[in-house]
């Protein structure tokens, strides 16, 4: 049974999703969702344990040999991302059990959980697979379910945001499909390892370069790289809070993982960095993302929107790390990916607690929050400190390594950009902290903390982030090992 874990953590949510639909009562679907997501957490931790020592797991679907059969290949990076996705998925499911009363009709609960499980399955499948078309299929599974999830609160703005997200996401996925077709045309196989061994023979052909270009544009839409980020603020703001948290921590990160996999294993560093010189495009765009998105975040009045722009900026850091074209840059990206997923999801969930108690996440509602909801405020402050990069949070470690990688590669402008991003983050986080700490008028502020069932997932994710900040050696060695392997 243990040997089938890679396929089980993908298939089980996929199969249980329609089962959720069979039952009318919301309790059963909540229970099923919790059990399945917990299973995924356990399964991915198990995979992490195996791959930690360096083994790569190859699993053949249906015992058909690759490259004719579909193969699942999990290395350390895959196991790491799978763990992050499952833990965040589990936290969001637990959160949504109590929260959904607020935004989702009880009678639609079973559909909500079916979609959430489908999304989780799609994401895990994207991570596990070694076949490019299988990747596309799972990409679409996760994307479609996330479009529906964004619209699940049925508010008008959510519907519009979901529509925009759908258009943007479908265009992106279609570009990826086109690039998959071109790669198949040039190499005759769909297996990633096979393609990477055959590609060097044909890599000067225009088709390969076109495949690279289409893939990049498609994935950039999914990763919300500037300037293809326009769908993200709407989607994250108007989705229900557990979904914002889930999407913020997983979908873009998994797309980034696909980016890394394609650039470093499939196309190879030769092609990507030496021939196409891709870092000259991705680097400036990432820098622009960091600065412009952070600046936009400062002017928002809706805190969820502010966090969405902050996410775009933080994704800019990750792509900046990749575009440094060095091992240090790549490992810094991986560290940033890990700690940001936990911190951002925790922040969205903490805001969810605020929305649950106070109705909305506008700046006005935050006044005096420190008095009314002290534990939630503490969570928001800790998450904010991680965004800025204060020591003892995960954000400090990743900022340190990003700046070090930039300095080591003599990319001083990138180092300045990273530092500037931190200072801008200080401004928009400081605004929230200030509001929470000072009360506006003399109205009596009642202590009305959110229930424990909502607090627990927040602190679970925050503790993961702080753990990375105080005991960073494990994630650093993991990131270094992965970067060595990929270069």
């Amino acid at each position: 049974m243990l040997a089938h874990i890679p396929i089980l953590i993908v298939v089980l949510p996929l199969v249980i999703a329609p089962v959720c639909l069979l039952f009318r009562s919301p309790e059963i679907s909540k229970l099923l969702a919790t059990i399945v997501s917990l299973f995924c957490v356990v399964g991915s931790l198990f995979l992490l344990d195996i791959t930690f020592s360096g083994t790569i797991i190859n699993y053949e679907l249906g015992a058909w040999e690759p490259p004719w059969g579909i193969e699942y290949k999990i290395g350390l990076l895959g196991a790491l991302i799978a763990t992050i996705v499952s833990i965040i998925g589990f936290a969001c499911v637990v959160f949504s059990i109590t929260y959904n009363k607020h935004e989702i009709h009880e009678e639609r609960s079973n559909k909500f959980y079916a979609l959430l499980l489908l999304c989780l399955s799609g994401l895990l499948g994207m991570i596990m697979t070694n076949d490019i078309f299988n990747l596309f299929v799972f990409l679409e599974i996760s994307s479609l379910s996330s479009y529906a999830l964004v619209a699940s609160s049925q508010k008008p703005k959510a519907l519009w945001a979901a529509y925009r997200y759908l258009i943007a996401g479908t265009i992106g996925a279609t570009f990826i499909l086109l690039s998959i077709g071109m790669l198949y045309m040039m190499t005759g196989t769909l297996n990633m390892d096979d393609i990477s061994s055959r590609l060097p023979d044909v890599h000067s052909s225009a088709t390969t370069q076109a495949a690279f270009a289409f893939l990049t544009v498609g994935l950039s839409l999914k990763v919300a790289l500037f300037p293809l980020h326009f769908w993200l603020p709407g989607a994250y703001t108007y989705a229900p809070s557990p979904i914002s948290a889930f999407l913020a921590g997983t979908t873009t990160k998994v797309s980034l993982y696909v980016f890394i996999k394609f650039f470093f294993s499939l196309f190879g560093t030769e092609l990507t960095f030496n021939e196409i010189n891709f870092e000259y495009i991705m680097g400036p765009l990432s820098a622009a993302a960091i600065i412009l998105a952070s600046l936009s975040a400062i002017y928002q009045t809706n805190i969820k929107r502010m966090l969405a722009y902050s996410s775009i900026a933080q994704l800019g850091y990750m792509t900046l790390g990749i575009s440094m074209a060095t091992k240090e840059g790549l490992s810094a990206s991986i560290i940033h990916l890990t700690q940001h997923a936990f911190a951002k999801s925790a922040l969205f969930l903490a805001l969810g607690c605020v929305i649950f108690k106070l109705g909305s996440a506008n700046l006005d509602n935050l006044k005096g929050l420190g008095r009314r909801m002290p534990i939630t405020t503490a969570a928001i402050i800790v998450g904010g400190l991680s965004m800025i990069g204060i020591p003892l949070t995960g954000g400090f470690i990743s900022k340190w390594y990003l700046i070090q990688a930039a300095m080591g590669a003599d990319l001083w402008l990138y180092a300045v950009t990273i530092v500037l991003g931190s200072v801008l983050a200080l401004v928009y986080v400081g605004r929230v902290v200030e509001l929470a700490f000072f009360k506006s008028s003399d109205e009596q502020l009642q202590l009305g903390e959110a229930p424990i069932a909502l607090q627990a997932p927040v602190w679970l994710l925050l503790i993961a982030n702080i753990y990375l900040g105080i005991f960073p050696d494990s994630i650093i060695s993991v990131a270094r090992y992965i970067a060595e392997g990929l270069f």
């Binding site: 299929v137 703005k157 529509y163 759908l166 265009i171 279609t174 086109l178 077709g181």
Partner: protein, 122 residues
């Protein structure tokens, strides 16, 4: 017969490009939500045609094993496209459901009008 000779000389990949760009333009250029979906559909169809085009092997016959033939067209892209078509159907139906709901909530399906109502988007 003449027409088949001419037909086999054309580079159909140009058709793919043209269709793709038409579809893409419609998505961006039109403000009616349904028309955008039509454009998206055309865009996706262009990609499907691309895959099908590449699967034809010169001198190949239909991919059914038979003794007299030894060159077959490639069936794999057809399989891939079937999957992709199913995905595209799901996407279109989800999008149409969204449009129906948007019409209910906003009373319009024109993008410009909706952006005016939602003044915080750009």
């Amino acid at each position: 017969m003449q027409i088949f000779n001419i037909a086999s000389e054309i580079n159909y990949y140009w058709g793919v490009i043209i269709l793709m760009m038409i579809g893409f333009y419609i998505v961006i250029g039109h403000s009616n939500l349904i028309k955008k979906l039509v454009g998206l559909s055309i865009f996706q169809s262009a990609i499907f045609i691309f895959f099908i085009l590449m699967s034809k092997v010169d001198g190949g016959t239909a991919p059914i094993l038979a003794e007299e033939y030894n060159i077959y067209s490639n069936p794999l892209p057809h399989v891939l496209i079937l999957t992709a078509i199913v995905v595209s159907i799901a996407t279109t139906s989800l999008a149409l459901a969204l449009v129906v709901r948007i019409r209910e909530e906003f009373k319009t399906i024109d993008e410009k009008a909706i952006l005016e109502i939602n003044d915080d988007e750009f």
